[in-house]
Amino acid sequence: MNNCESCSANPPAESKARGWVRRAGPALGALAVAAVAASSAGCATLGAKPWDHDLLAEHAMQVDPYPLETRVDAHIYFSKEASSGGRSFAGGGCGCN
């Protein structure tokens, strides 16, 4: 996209942070694959019996127990960082980024 490195004194070099992000990529992928494998292979071993859902029924154990708080945080980070989405849709619904 940027074919004009010479026009800038500070070309986007392969910095430490970027290398760190790059190194973390395979780890994240492996984590995801492991989670999927565990989930898909686990019908026999994963899960809880219906009578064992007492703790899972607690408010704090829900996927998103405080959706308003999640929404506020997503709005803040959407306006301060280049990344969005993941837990939910990436669209910010505002002109703040």
Binding site: M1, N2, C4, S6, C7, S8, A9, N10, P12, S15, A17, V21, G25, L28, A32, A38, S39, G42, L46, G47, A48, K49, P50, W51, H53, D54, L55, L56, A57, E58, H59, A60, M61, Q62, V63, D64, P65, P67, L68, E69, T70, R71, V72, I76, K80, E81, A82, S83, S84, G85, G86, R87, S88, F89, A90, G91, G92, G93, C94, G95
Partner: protein, 457 residues
């Protein structure tokens, strides 16, 4: 699915039933196995955010969401949010050892109207722009001076936003749930409309939930002063017409009960954006190749398409009476931005009537491939260029603590205080001339206070 409890004490039963009801009302594209019970029919969830950036933006944002369970199969919800922002914000220019004067469009008035205003918001001075021949209107500009050695900010920044959303959830079968909704947001210079639909299917005795959701967003940008032509010089002249942006998002989720104490979620999200994604208020400095002094301020330019994807892995683990929430997110887009986010919360609940939840978040991103701190005079202009620090390489930490008090099973109040600290490279290698003395990425430090109140009846 029916909640079946091991404990037999009535208070525990009430608490668990309330929790189950709250869980059913909690939204999001990925559904946990949601226990059904005999919940309160309406929940009002409200919060007030006070946001304070050191020397920059201040914001207040009240939010409310009302969710009404019509029957066991149907839930209707609506929400409202407003925010008000004022203060100072970076606009892309580099600092200098000399005073710098900037000018931006302020207002358009009919030709012949007497101009009595001499100052605009943020301490800037109103300047008169000579009208073009035959024009029936004239433009007023706002001019301000940045002192030597000071990171340039635009102090007249303000914004107001009003947003609303409607949602609907419908259980189609015991195993299948449909949800949908619309959202609308309006600012003085931006409008956003969106609609989403999602489907969640339970398997394996409600221990596994597979979900999919799609969101479409259509935005309209009508900046104050019009839309500038990319890579043209910053000026007070009124500029081009409104612009639009269209975004399609999709999320696939898998939620798995790992065991009695562990709930795990894995999501993949994908977004495609087409349209105007340049920040119309941001510039990039062009500097002298020897002295490093800014010679021009050009409006930035970003690609009109963007493709984003991310993987999100979240875990809730019950430990004694406490809950650990730990998540990881990996993100990348075709602008070259890559990031990782790690989030950890520990909900320490020594007593059923209150909890304390410390929170740590770590975020690191690489720069967009068209990010430059500045351009150099005399070289060919790149097709795309932005000095927006949000597209730079940086890392950020959030430290927070939340204290909550659930009263009975009907309401909860909570307060959360957080500190956000963003660090970038303020002294990039190869900085030219006077720029070696400047901090090109001042730290961003922000405090947030969130007060929440939830009432179920």
């Amino acid at each position: 699915m029916r909640v079946q409890l091991k404990k037999s004490d009535p208070a525990g039963v009430r608490r668990a039933l309330a929790a189950a009801a709250a869980g059913l009302l909690a939204g999001g594209p990925v559904r946990a196995q949601s226990p059904q019970s005999d919940p309160p029919s309406t929940t009002v969830d409200s919060a007030l955010l006070v946001y304070h950036e050191v020397n920059r933006v201040q914001a207040i944002e009240p939010e409310v969401n009302v969710s009404h369970k019509i029957d066991d199969d149907r839930t209707f919800s609506f929400g409202l949010a407003a925010d008000s922002l004022t203060g100072a914000t970076p606009f892309g220019a580099v600092p200098s050892t000399l005073p710098q004067t900037y000018v931006r469009p302020y207002k358009v008035i009919p030709l012949g109207t007497p101009v009595t205003v001499t100052s605009a918001s943020g301490g800037s001075t109103v300047v008169l722009i000579p009208p073009a021949t035959g024009a029936k209107t004239r433009t007023l500009g706002a001019s301000w001076v940045v002192p030597p050695g000071t990171y340039p900010l635009e102090h007249g920044f303000y914004d107001r936003r009003l947003a609303g959303n409607l949602g609907w959830e419908q259980a189609l079968t015991q195993w299948l749930k449909l949800d949908g909704g619309v959202a609308y947001s309006k600012e003085h210079d931006y409008r956003s409309e969106s609609a989403h639909v999602g489907l969640a299917r339970d398997f394996n005795g409600h221990n596994t939930t597979l979900s999919a959701g799609v969101n479409y967003e259509s935005d309209l940008s009508f900046p104050i002063g019009g839309t500038p032509t990319p890579l043209t010089e910053m000026s007070a002249q009124w500029k081009g017409p409104n612009t639009s942006l269209h975004e399609t998002d999709a999320v696939l989720g898998l939620t798995q009960v790992m065991n009695r104490r562990w709930l795990s979620t894995l999501s993949y999200s994908f977004s495609e954006l087409h349209g105007y994604q340049t920040d119309p208020y941001k510039v990039i400095s062009v500097v002298d190749p020897v002295t490093g002094q800014p010679t021009q301020q050009l409006y930035e330019n970003r690609p009109d398409s963007r493709r984003k994807q991310s993987i999100f892995f979240d875990n809730k683990i019950h430990v004694a009476t406490d809950v650990i929430a730990a998540s990881l997110r990996g993100y990348e887009d075709d602008w070259g931005v890559k990031s990782v986010t790690a989030d950890l919360r520990y909900r320490w609940q020594p007593d059923p009537d209150y909890y304390v939840e410390p929170h740590l978040r770590y975020y690191r991103q690489g720069a967009a491939n068209f990010f430059h701190n500045y351009l150099v005079s005399g070289a060919a202009l790149p097709e795309y260029a932005s000095a927006d620090s949000r597209l730079a390489e940086f890392h950020a930490q959030t430290y927070g603590v939340k204290v909550g008090m659930p009263f009975d099973e009907t309401y909860e109040v909570y307060m959360r205080v957080e500190y956000y600290d963003q660090h970038g490279n303020g002294s990039p290698a190869g900085a030219i001339g006077q720029l070696q003395q400047q901090n090109l990425f001042p730290d961003l430090k922000a405090y947030t206070l969130l007060l929440g109140f939830t009432y179920a009846f």
